[in-house]
Symmetry: C2
Subunit: 376 residues, 2 copies
Amino acid sequence: MKDIPFERISEKTGVPAERLETSFKKGSSRLLESGGLRALLFKKQVMDLEAGTVAYLTGEPEVIRGFPKIRRTLLLSPAIEKHFTESVAVEEKMNGYNVRIASVSGRILALTRGGHVCPFTTEKAKELMDLQEFFRDHGDLVICGEMIGRDNPYVSHDYPEVGPLGFRVFDIREKNTNTPLPVMDKRRILESYELPAVRLFGIFPVEEAPGRVAEIIRMLGADGREGVVMKDPEMKLPPLKYTSSQAHAREIAYAFNYPFDFGRPFFFSRVIREGFQAYELDESDEETLERAHRLGEAIIYPMLKRIKSIAEGEPACEDTVIDVEDRERAEEFLRHLSRLGVSATIADYRDGKATIRRFYQSTTDRITNYLEGGLY
Amino acid sequence: MKDIPFERISEKTGVPAERLETSFKKGSSRLLESGGLRALLFKKQVMDLEAGTVAYLTGEPEVIRGFPKIRRTLLLSPAIEKHFTESVAVEEKMNGYNVRIASVSGRILALTRGGHVCPFTTEKAKELMDLQEFFRDHGDLVICGEMIGRDNPYVSHDYPEVGPLGFRVFDIREKNTNTPLPVMDKRRILESYELPAVRLFGIFPVEEAPGRVAEIIRMLGADGREGVVMKDPEMKLPPLKYTSSQAHAREIAYAFNYPFDFGRPFFFSRVIREGFQAYELDESDEETLERAHRLGEAIIYPMLKRIKSIAEGEPACEDTVIDVEDRERAEEFLRHLSRLGVSATIADYRDGKATIRRFYQSTTDRITNYLEGGLY
């Protein structure tokens, strides 16, 4: 422990060294090899230091801060007026998984939310984007974005504009401090390096924003898309997120595919969102009725389908096809999933296409038990 | 503590004295005045001794055992065949609150689930039934039943056959041991004292029971009624409960009147029941669609209505009218509610009709906060 440079991490991040040390002693942070480099991973937040932060310890420490949790608003008005000052930048929130990309000791690494280097994501990020030039000029910056698309082993969602897999950048942040670039600076720099940004719907005066966001949300919902992140253009205030009814229904339907693996809070919070959205956005009784029916169907049908398939002897699992260079890469990815506690296997491998099968054991076990006459 | 006769309670109940003592030391049971008598209330289960058990300590101890939790089955088949032996008695499960009535030291007392003597319930039980003769002959027995009806301050549900308030007996059990009478013995004894029993739908061979119960549940559901309790006719095996889709939807709708006062498990478990019932009972795609829509509507509409009314400045509350002899009786009932931790007031009193208003503070506070722009 003595050789962990808590003092220098403290200087860079502003979090007192003794707090960093306590976190380590309590097991809230741990040493690991991250992308081949020695690093300290913070599994839990320490004061302002976000969970998922990784401090690389090769030479001068470099800290890739965790991506800050974005708070949600249940209503657009008056939350937007209350939260922001003059204007709000509205960007698309996409349904994939959160990735931070940084260059550390000459290696480009892609970290998932918890702070683990994912070998699949690292490789795909480099395939999808030309990152060399950006990091040569801006080694002090971190690219934060969403890995999206159908052939996505974490969150599969079809976005026709990206093909099977794509990446969209939503933030550029400084190493060590996590300071984000202002929205337009970020977009300009991304453009100059030909890196793909999430859609910007506009920068609106706060008084106009609730109405404009309501329109955008309707449009996105009708398109089966997720929602928006609202940002202070200067990025001095924390952003807010807001999502479409269709996104809630889709997530609920997904969770009810595996009802005993997804927690109760997952379910309850999404239902609450629907109540507030009905209050604020529904323009007719018909719209509310449609919302109610969409919700009920999102609950019942996936659950019914799952019970039927388990009754027929199929375990609850989920297949995603990923594109890999060879079978060894697929196996490396499985080992990564296993370290994260995910039970999965390669169901099929053929010509660079690996079918990753993930198992939902609690759902299989509990439904099987009830089907055999077990009591609730 | 030395004067609590743990040894004698142990002899009567079969639970070791030292376990009873430990429970007391840990604060899981406590001394109180119960219906004017000194008693020990078990708030938590101790081995076989159910939560809600009350040991009266005047003279020879007498133990009114807690009412045993009835387990639920999510599927009728094969659970019934697996759980029961030859035949199953199917009785109606009614939607009210659980009451145990016993005679202790010459007083007839009515206990609610947790083991508290409720003054309102005690008075009403005696008004609704002639209990003197029964307890004169059977001082060693406890009448277990449901207080039901519209003018019910705990669970208001209209049962046309009882008028504003009624009582239905479902079990007769022995003091101290909690041994229940066999189903037909119980019904005969109730009949001979003209005490009202819950409906018995029949005693069916186990192979026939799942089909018969399915029919009964359809009929009850269509009537807006709750469900059934299935019992071993000899009462040697624990009973099982099963409820209608309409009951689930009604309870969900009720909970979404007060979304932040009802727990997430309340909601989740009812939704799960619907999935299994759809699997087992739905005879057509239309029935499943109806079920899904009923569920979605039960969630969205009450929540939307509540958000609207709070936006208009009304706090979340629930009114029930109870019939009392005088205002003092209503106030006594309020004090009882307050001891149980329930926030309520008398909103109106006129000619023996007291309107009890119960407040749902978390729902009011949290919805108000979101309406003012608070973040989730």
